[in-house]
Subunit: 306 residues, 2 copies
């Protein structure tokens, strides 16, 4: 199978590339920039460019058996600052991708959505995929609209599409700018002896999933013949306070966070019900939070030391 991985040089993308290579797939990556934390891999065909305006997109699609779309120009906390940029940077390119795939591309797409934002403030715990979509940040609104366009394409033109609604992902190679994820930000700051900040009182509960677990799910989705939405989480909730306790054990020293006011777009608690992915795709997350934190901390120390 020849797979085109859009956003394959990003945090999640780099692990999906690893998983696909390990499974013997032929991998081509379309991304705006090279990987941040390692050199290009010899057996990957990297194409530099933007999904929104790449002149060779049709050729790239014609040459692929499946597409994995992982690219995003925003994260939840930045999306509300400029929703128009969120729409034009993510929703419009996805609509154009669907159209280009219909013209002369593969009929299989795996799409990374956001289990942490599309449901809004959940009324179920854990949240199943049938929960209504009521996002309260632009990132979630745009992801929901992207899901809807994919659902429409499946209904009208038979695209096989698997949507993975990811929980809070973490692990090696996560960006350290403070936007991509709380675990990466905390470990990075601790490694630099900088303070860590908690928005609110630490009671916010999230579902943390190791990036290699979603890479494995992504690979399973490529091999499956179904369509649909699948939550991709650990199935377990961890409060920010509990997380800080785990991190304290991982780094082996006291951790004293600074508390800042809670943010309106932060949902109090999201834990994803992953029964559907387990039953339909035969997937289960393998890497527990303590193991994952230890590995991520080790990577960060080696990375900062080099």
């Amino acid at each position: 199978m020849r797979v085109l991985i859009i956003g394959g040089c990003g945090f999640v993308g780099s692990h999906v590339v690893d998983r696909c290579l390990a499974a013997g797939l032929r991998v081509r990556v379309l991304d705006r920039a090279p990987e941040t934390y390692r050199a290009p891999l010899p057996n990957v065909d990297y194409v530099r460019g933007d999904l929104g305006d790449h002149p060779c997109l049709a050729d790239l699609l014609a040459d692929a058996d499946a597409v994995v779309h992982l690219a995003s120009t925003t994260v939840p906390s930045s999306s509300n600052l400029d929703p128009v940029a969120d729409i034009s940077g993510n929703l419009v390119p996805l609509v154009r991708l669907i159209s280009a795939m219909r013209e002369n591309g593969p009929r299989k797409l795996v799409f990374l959505s956001s289990g942490g934002t599309v449901y809004g403030i959940p009324t179920a715990d854990p949240v199943p995929e049938i929960h209504p979509l009521r996002p309260i940040c632009s990132y979630g609104i745009v992801k929901a609209a992207m899901e809807h366009y994919l659902h429409m394409e499946r209904h009208l033109h038979g695209l096989q599409v698997i949507v993975l609604r990811a929980a809070n992902l973490y692990g090696p190679r996560q960006g350290r700018i403070g936007l991509q994820g709380v675990i990466g930000t905390y470990l990075h700051n601790l490694n630099r002896d900088r303070p860590i900040e908690v928005w609110g009182d630490g009671s916010v509960v999230r579902d943390f999933l190791h990036v290699r677990d979603i890479a494995d799910l992504c690979h399973r989705a490529l091999g499956a013949s179904v369509s649909g939405c699948f939550n991709a989480g650990s199935g377990r909730g961890t409060s920010i306070s509990e997380l800080i306790g785990h991190i304290r054990q991982t780094v082996g020293r006291p951790v004293s966070p600074t508390h800042r006011p809670g943010r309106g777009f932060d949902v109090p608690r999201v834990v994803l019900d992953i029964a559907k992915a387990q039953a339909t795709l035969g997937w289960t997350p393998r890497i527990g939070l303590e193991q994952g934190l230890a590995e991520t901390w080790e990577w960060m120390c080696s990375c900062d030391a080099s």
Copy 2:
């Protein structure tokens, strides 16, 4: 109350203007074009222009106590031909409107959404507002995203917003281009002795609501202090075949439709559950289908004769 009606020269808009004037409201209209079927009204302040790029939008908002947003650049059947235009013509201007209202505008908005498309293929009959949104045409996807941005603004910044999810609207002053509604198209064609076309076998069921009934609901929404989504339909389903039977009686002669293949984006049956609008806004539709058809036919004959 000073109300700014965006799209106030359109089919629905002209009736909302009438209802607001009758109730003694001060009415300003922002629209790209004048009304098609009648001269400007003396006691309405018409401002010509596009919501997307009007230089005086901030001033118009500062001068209003509430906004009614009825404008749309697409209809369901045209939206799928160019989803990018649908997004840039409707979603982006709405996001900018929300932002401009937050800066220096009123904190009350009534928004016309689409009960016929946002639910996709309903799994309930009639469909309540809590039904999941699974649209299968771009028009419905964009309306759902617009609703989500309004919901977010309410949650984060306290905008009072009432979303009216309209059924299939009909009545005098509906466009006759064949895009806006099946009743207007059929009556117009019959009045010109042209054939009428049915997409599919006539079993498709819709919920037809007279435009003055939704204008009344819109006015009630302006006076209400709640927020939320409200279905706006008749609460009754009518198949296209049944509709043609009613039309036959209205026009007083045989009607022989031409059948064409069904369209993939047409939902088989949508009838809206209107209990919430009845209970919360004290609204109920008053104009039955036979009465409404007779009135619309009379208007069309007088209009074509003039």
